[in-house]
Subunit: 143 residues, 2 copies
DNA sequence: TTTTTTATTGCAATAAGTTACAATAAGAAA
DNA sequence: TTTCTTATTGTAACTTATTGCAATAAAAAA
């Protein structure tokens, strides 16, 4: 598995950075939650488990983890940034009514990405897309 | 044209809202800029032309214009929200090195959108996507 | 035109996000 | 193990974002 705490330790040490309780705590919270969390959620969860860090540390540690490609960041519907472990590439459909999240395999998007790279000359980097919409259930209610 | 000041006035009045100098000023700034601006840029530009509003008004007016589909909001690379007039649907490729923006016609994305709607049952709503990458020029420099 | 209604704005207070810098502690060297 | 180096964190200050409420003014009615 490419997203275990052991992997985190290895990656950080390999690059000459330091393995701190703060970094492990944030990583573990993301690991246990499974999904994606915004900064305030991460801070609250770490505090609840063991108050080993402050708000600015959450802020900087997440940037650090993203830079080192251990964590991925995505845009939530409201403009907030959400964080999750850098596992397999995927995207999300978000129901703007009930908040349900549906995961989409990157393979489904691959073709359009490749096509865009060809037609524009751009080289696309780590893009995690969140598309907004209505889930089947909320469509029924709305109609 | 579906994005003229006259259209704004018509749309707002038709729904029983009020046409205020503040709303017109913000709309005009977006109209003249052509591209997309973040909130602080909009505030600064309006202030430079005619100081008719405050920061909270920019905040609420933009929400108002987005709700009424006169303005569209999109995610900038850094998590900030950018605003632009609701003209034809399109998306963006953003160069993370030099900041260049390339517009992509919605037609290029249409197929993948339709495919996702079919396979998931979700109904996708107004999605303006910004994909991050490196433009051809910055790829050369980097290599 | 004047009055009335209430959507909209500005002011002031609050909350959240961010930065600078001194203090701390992780890992290397002795 | 102890000392040393400096990456990393916490504190505190600062800036930006957001909200509540009273004051204002746009549009309708008289």
């Amino acid at each position: 598995m490419t997203c275990s705490p052991a992997h985190l330790a290895e990656q950080i040490r390999a690059k000459g950075f330091r393995l701190t309780p703060q970094r492990m705590a944030i990583f573990n919270v993301l690991h246990e939650s499974g999904g994606h969390l915004v900064r305030t959620e991460i801070y609250e969860r770490v505090q609840a488990l063991a108050p080993v860090l402050t708000e600015p540390t959450v802020y900087r540690t997440l940037d650090f983890l993203v830079e080192n490609e251990l964590v991925r960041v995505t845009h939530a519907g409201n403009g907030r940034l959400e964080y999750e472990l850098a596992r397999h590439r995927h995207h999300h459909l978000h129901c703007s009514a009930c908040g349900a999240e549906l995961e989409i395999a990157h393979e489904q998007m691959q073709k359009i990405f490749a096509h865009l790279e060809l037609s524009t000359g751009y080289r696309l980097t780590e893009n995690h897309i969140t598309l907004m919409g209505l889930c089947p259930h909320c469509q029924e209610i709305g109609d």
